[in-house]
Subunit: 404 residues, 2 copies
């Protein structure tokens, strides 16, 4: 679909009723917390910033504690307040874990987080990274109404090209980054125009920078100049955003990019499937670590990987070289090293001399990549911590939705 | 067979009659040259040095010219004398080419070379490398009878382990080198004892050295201290000699080493056969050059060679990776290079972004190593000069006698 700002906004901007409904719920909860616990509460996130997308039902309600309250009390009280809110408004909830535990659940079709934090004015007083969020909200509110809509459009665009989301599954752009980009470059189209000319280690500084960074993209957080707000953006997502920005500037198409996985002709597939109930932010780093470990091992054993991919429940390897001959050359010591040569000769039959090394032919440990992977699954040394225990099985079929 | 000096000598030392027969023939020819051309002639080589092996029928007769004769006259006269010798003694002959042409042929079952050279006393007067040979002969004559026999044994040993011969086919030890080693270390067994402890760039200096060398083995020619007499010894043959020296010192076996070639299980073979009538010293360097060129090209195209071998009429490649999938990843420019990215995108469909490069999948030019070799044989750029025109055909069978 060809880009038309008004048309897009009609599709993606939440209706007045939708917004009012959310606000009504938030205000009721805020009142409840104020009365019951004598604490201030405030909505954070795209809803309050005016940058939310249609259907976005996330309400992040932060409960402020004074700085002189201890962390233990804050944690305990935070959970207490959260639970009470869900009891009062008849919602279902569970305890989730970020830097500290918080209560998450559903009320009136909205997805609610009740997050305790310290009320701070200056970043120096920050005790936990959630304390920074209200400062982000405050900073971003300076956007004009036009810019808020453009932030919505940028988020939608990033979703369509699969670079949206700072979680470990995506390693792309957060909502806050979208807003910062709009504030810095002024408009959606200007963000893309500039991004199309980004270089490696691109730097965006609002006022000042208090530290050096070496990430692909460096966007100094205006409320915390010692922080790179874009540190989670991987080289891959950074590059994809540059690529699709250019593409958009040329064809003005505002369409979903398909990232279906298709096996190449003549290659062999091995898919490792893990059964876990890990949170994605814990799962994906472990999948990547495990993938890198297995990849290294396979390559050291002579196999050649065409592609490897991470997906929701496992790792895919596509092989260029999957099968190898029975024997391989095993290099021994240099001929000048008499003592080690003698030991090598004692150990091996069929000595061959290649250049100035003594070598032998030995049987390969693994004749196929599958044998090699089977072996690694046996003890799982080098696998991600939780994947060591997880149920694991191999299939040879492709997968559709892949990441990285 | 367990080493027994006397037993070995009985087998390898020419009989008195054999030697006398050769000397009689040499003396007749010398007389003929003296009478007919008024020039001195002298036998060179192992025969006159007393280091020849049984059945060795080579007689190298050098005809001496004074230093004031021009090179043209020497060449012309040399050929003239050679031809006349063979006519007089009713032998068959042909013209051969080293640094300058000479006459080679058969008389009374002996293989004769008639080589014209300048008579020099000091190496500084040398006009062509053949002039040096009589100085070598003279130097080596200082060996005791025992040492002459040990030189025979060393030559035989080197032949058995396939390191004898300075020609390009072998790139091993010359007869002269064997004699120098005996002179330097004193006896056959001492040569092996010392060789078993040789290091890379092993240096052997008789009196003085006038130049630095970086060859695997450096034996400064005592009659020409600016020359490494062992420059033709390849790293491979150098190492093999060290290896078999150690082996001999342990088991005292004096046996022929089999170097039969056997294909490994699961690999694929491709043998390039060339039809040429090139002299071996011209053929082998060209085979090696061609082999290295093809090897590089194959590896650049993703194939993996297990072994490659040179043999009398061609080149063998044994493959670990012989077949590859249809497609391959083709790397394009870095994403930051907007202009080149645009050109790349114009040229290729199916752009994929890998890290910060834009890439595409393209069809492989060669899906098998055989297709790749077929392609190279088409125009033969990078092949040895004479192999460019030679008839060439591919077989897939192993060969028995291989070199390097």
């Amino acid at each position: 679909m060809i880009y038309d700002r008004e048309k897009i906004l009609k599709q993606i901007k939440p209706s007045k009723e939708e917004i009012e409904k959310g606000f009504r719920l938030y205000k009721k909860i805020r009142e409840f917390i104020r009365k019951k616990f004598n604490l201030e509460a405030e909505l954070q996130g795209s809803f309050i910033k005016g940058t939310s997308l249609k259907g976005d039902k996330d309400l992040d309600i932060f409960v402020f504690f004074p700085l002189d309250v201890s962390k233990e009390i804050l944690k305990k009280m935070g959970l207490e307040i959260g639970k009470k809110v869900f009891e009062e408004f008849k919602g279902e909830y569970e305890i989730k874990y970020a830097e500290h535990p918080y209560v998450n659940g559903k009320i009136e079709n909205h997805d609610l987080d009740i997050v305790p934090c310290y009320k701070i004015d200056k970043i120096e007083d920050m005790k936990s990274s959630v304390d920074r969020t209200p400062l982000h909200t405050k900073f971003v509110k300076r956007m004009t109404e036009f810019q808020k809509d453009d932030a919505r459009i940028l988020k939608k665009f990033m979703k369509l090209i699969n670079v949206y989301g700072s979680e470990f599954k995506v390693m792309g752009f957060s909502g806050y980054l979208c807003e910062l980009l709009i504030l810095y470059y002024g408009s959606f189209e200007n963000v893309l125009k500039n991004a199309s000319e980004w270089k490696l280690n691109q730097k965006i500084i609002f006022e000042k920078m208090e530290k050096e960074f070496s990430d692909p993209l460096i966007i100094i957080d205006p409320v915390d100049p010692a922080r790179n707000a874009a540190s989670c953006v991987s080289l891959q997502k950074f590059s994809e955003f540059i690529y699709y920005s250019r593409k958009f500037l040329k064809d003005k198409k505002f369409d979903r990019i398909k990232i279906e996985y298709r096996k190449s002709e003549g290659t062999e597939l091995i898919v490792l499937n893990f059964k876990t109930d890990l949170m994605e932010d814990l799962l994906f780093p472990q999948l990547r670590k495990t993938r890198d470990f297995i990849k290294d091992y396979l390559e050291k054993n002579g196999f050649r990987i065409y592609r490897s991919k991470i997906f929701n429940s496992g790792i895919l390897f596509e092989f260029e070289v999957f099968k190898l001959p029975k024997m391989k050359i095993h290099e021994g010591p240099f001929i000048y090293d008499g003592e080690n040569c003698e030991n090598f000769i004692k150990k091996h039959k069929n000595i061959v001399i290649i250049g100035d090394r003594i070598c032998t032919e030995i049987e390969r440990k693994f004749k196929t990549a599958e044998e090699c992977i089977d072996f690694l699954i046996e003890d799982r040394e080098g696998f991600g911590k939780d994947l060591k225990k997880a149920r694991c099985f191999i299939t040879k079929e492709g997968i559709k939705e892949v990441y990285d």
